[in-house]
């Protein structure tokens, strides 16, 4: 039985930065190209029962010209929440999809695509109008972008 | 085949009084401190507009008090918060943030109708007319 320490050291091995989200959730910053690899490694080492992806939070950092993606992972059975953070350019927000290895990513990826315009490469279910109303879709606007005018 | 367990309960309900209330002929009983309609006591209101700024539903609009009413000196701008109950979510944020505790909270909930759509009638009764 592998403990929570192993999971942290796995995440640590990929990270290029550390941090904390209140209240004391450990934060690992990784390269965008590595996000999929982290999840592959988690699944390979700990199986599907070892964690679940709670949510994907996309934030538009307009002043920095990039979009921040946070993957909130709950490690089981300890039920500890850790954060995997990555930054992608605002002009070309593309990242590898997780949906084929982790079906639970579907809801988060579809929502982030529809509201923030992040393209998850390899996710066949992405579509506009998943949440956003039709008039916004026709204008091609992403409502959670800071300059969307919504 | 087991006998349905609910049979006794159903028979009991057949002979007992109905559980529903014949509203509006019979009023629904509510608590004394139920969050019903609230309105400003214009004797205390200073027209500071804080409630209108804090209202999460934008239901409060600062409105001039009609000239036929005597307004206390503490309200130099002669304005009062007019609550649109159609928009109001009855969170009582206005009641709690008021610096002069001017709001009167009631447990009235029957606001359907034309005259009770806003707090105008409630609030203006707290003032005296000029010359009366």
């Amino acid at each position: 039985m592998m403990g929570v320490v192993d999971k942290h050291s796995l995440l640590e091995s990929f990270s290029v930065g550390r941090g904390v989200v209140k209240p004391s959730r450990k934060l690992y910053i990784v390269e965008p190209g590595n996000v999929r690899r982290v999840f592959e490694a988690l699944i390979e080492k700990f199986g599907y029962g070892g964690f679940y992806l709670s949510t994907i939070v996309g934030t538009d950092l307009k002043d920095e010209g990039r979009i921040r993606l946070d993957y909130y992972i709950v490690l089981l059975p300890e039920e500890e929440t850790v954060v995997l953070r990555t930054f992608i350019p605002r002009e070309n927000p593309v990242i590898d999809s997780l949906v084929d290895i982790l079906p639970g990513a579907l809801s988060g990826e579809c929502e982030t695509h529809d509201l923030l315009g992040v393209v998850f490469r390899g996710n066949p279910f992405l579509k506009r109008g998943f949440f956003a109303p039709r008039d916004l879709v026709e204008k091609g606007e992403y409502p959670l972008r800071k300059d969307s005018g919504v | 085949m087991k006998r349905p367990r609910l049979l006794g309960l159903v028979l009991k309900n057949l002979v007992s009084k109905p559980a529903t209330i014949q509203y509006p002929r019979v009023k629904t009983p509510v608590e004394l401190d139920f969050r019903g309609v609230q309105y400003a006591d214009l004797g205390k209101c200073t027209g500071c507009s804080l409630c209108a700024i804090e209202c999460p539903a934008d239901a409060i609009k600062m409105t001039p008090i009609p000239p036929e009413y005597e307004v206390p000196k503490t309200n130099p701008r002669r304005i009062y918060p007019l609550i649109n109950y159609g928009k109001c979510v009855f969170c009582y944020r206005c009641v709690k943030v008021c610096p002069t505790n001017a709001y009167i909270a009631t447990n009235k909930y029957d606001i359907a109708g034309v005259s009770r759509l806003t707090s105008e009638a409630f609030s203006l009764t707290t003032l005296r007319r000029v010359g009366s």
Binding site: V74, P143 | D33
Partner: protein, 399 residues
């Protein structure tokens, strides 16, 4: 006359829209069910009928106005939404409410859990065609609604939690009245639990329907009673120990069956636990000061920072992410992830292989529900033509 047309069901894949309107429940959602005969072969979940843009709305309003806006995300679980958001604000401000306030918050949330679990169990009874049971459960649910009214001042919209505490205290008389209501309600819930356990109608419709394994529940990010029905031990109340949950004794309910019946039984057991917790709170309510903060004196400025809070809502783990940039009065980003968001969108796999009649049962066991089919589009896969039949014609057999 003779037969002029034959519809061979076996070569036809019928596309059946389940939703988006249903008179009984609140969430407009469309399940596009593809069925071969009676067997479901594929389900697509269509959303977007009621997206109100709350996250964007929160960015455009002040931190304090947002407290009431997030309470309106969902009527049934408004206290947990507010609690989760307010705790995120308290993390940003580094503020800690006193113990009495924490106990009262837990009381409001547990009363809410009882009425929510009773509601979905009643709806499940209605869906399987057991309307008497539906009426009975709803009648007894009034007791807990009344308790909530005594505590918070409103039957449904609590608006009870405020930064630094709660918005009204309870006195001795209210404490006794809530306690009496709960003592009356407890045996009723035990009785309904027994009905769900033993009644033929319910057992036949629910047992073995929509079974999910432990691995499927975690890989699809299913949360709450859905995951706990499959033996996954997740409960934010146990792991995060927020508010007073670290001090109040309760058991984490799980079952191993993983089917719709197990999920409903988890809900009944949790409702019983909640009643015991509520009575414990009422009997051990600490009095370490005034739990009601003066809303006029709360801090106006929020330091820059980010907070991620979780609560165990009735439907599962609810999370709020709040980011403040330290400038101005509005949050920079608020991200809400409701439990149903995961449970509904990611659960399309659960329906496959079951019959059409089981679709509403599985959906209700996830704790939303939507409409029965209103019209069918028949797709002839061989000729690739498409024509529409309404329900009457289909029932009459003459298109």
């Amino acid at each position: 006359m003779g037969v002029t047309k034959i519809v061979e069901i076996s070569v036809v894949t019928a596309e059946i829209p389940v939703g988006p309107q249903h008179p009984a429940l609140h969430e407009p959602l469309l399940l596009k069910v593809y069925a071969e005969g009676e067997e479901v072969v594929k389900v697509e979940v269509n959303t977007g009928y009621n997206h109100r843009g709350i996250e964007r709305l929160c960015e455009r309003n002040t931190f304090y106005r947002d407290i009431f806006i997030v309470g309106r995300v969902c009527g049934i679980c408004n206290a947990v939404h507010t609690n989760c958001y307010v705790r995120a604000l308290e993390q940003l401000l580094d503020l800690h409410p006193n113990r009495r306030a924490q106990y009262l918050r837990v009381l409001a949330m547990e009363l809410e859990r009882v009425h929510s679990h009773m509601l979905i169990n009643a709806v499940m009874a209605e869906i399987v065609g057991f309307e008497t049971l539906f009426m009975q459960i709803m009648l007894d649910r009034e007791k807990v609604m009344k308790a909530k009214e005594i505590l918070t001042g409103s039957r449904v919209m609590a608006d009870y939690v405020m930064v630094g505490g709660v918005r009204r205290d309870i006195d001795e008389e209210k404490r006794q009245r809530i306690r009496e209501l709960l003592l009356k309600l407890g045996p009723r819930i035990e009785y309904y639990r027994k009905v769900f356990e033993e009644d033929e109608t319910i057992v036949k419709r629910l047992v073995g329907v929509g079974r999910i394994s432990y691995g499927e529940a975690t890989s699809h990010s299913l949360v709450g009673p859905v995951a706990r029905g499959s033996g996954v031990k997740i409960d934010s109340r146990v792991s995060d120990k927020y508010d007073a949950y670290g001090e109040i004794p309760f058991n984490l309910v799980t079952r191993s069956e993983g089917d719709s019946w197990a999920r409903m039984m988890v809900r009944w057991d949790e409702a019983l636990e909640s009643i015991e917790m509520s009575i414990y709170i009422l009997e051990h309510l600490p009095s370490d000061g005034d739990p009601v903060p003066d809303e006029r004196r709360l801090p106006r400025r929020f330091p820059p920072g980010e907070a991620y809070t979780r609560v165990e809502a009735q439907r599962g783990e609810l999370t709020y992410y709040v980011m403040s940039d330290g400038k101005g009065q509005n949050p920079y980003r608020v991200k809400i992830r409701t439990p149903s968001f995961n449970n509904i969108i990611n659960s399309a796999f659960m329906y496959i292989g079951h019959s059409l009649a089981d679709v509403p049962v599985i959906l209700a066991s996830l704790d939303p529900c939507i409409s029965c089919m209103e019209r069918v589009t028949v797709i002839d896969l061989e000729k690739n033509t498409r024509y529409r039949l309404d329900l009457k014609q289909l029932a009459g057999g003459k298109p």
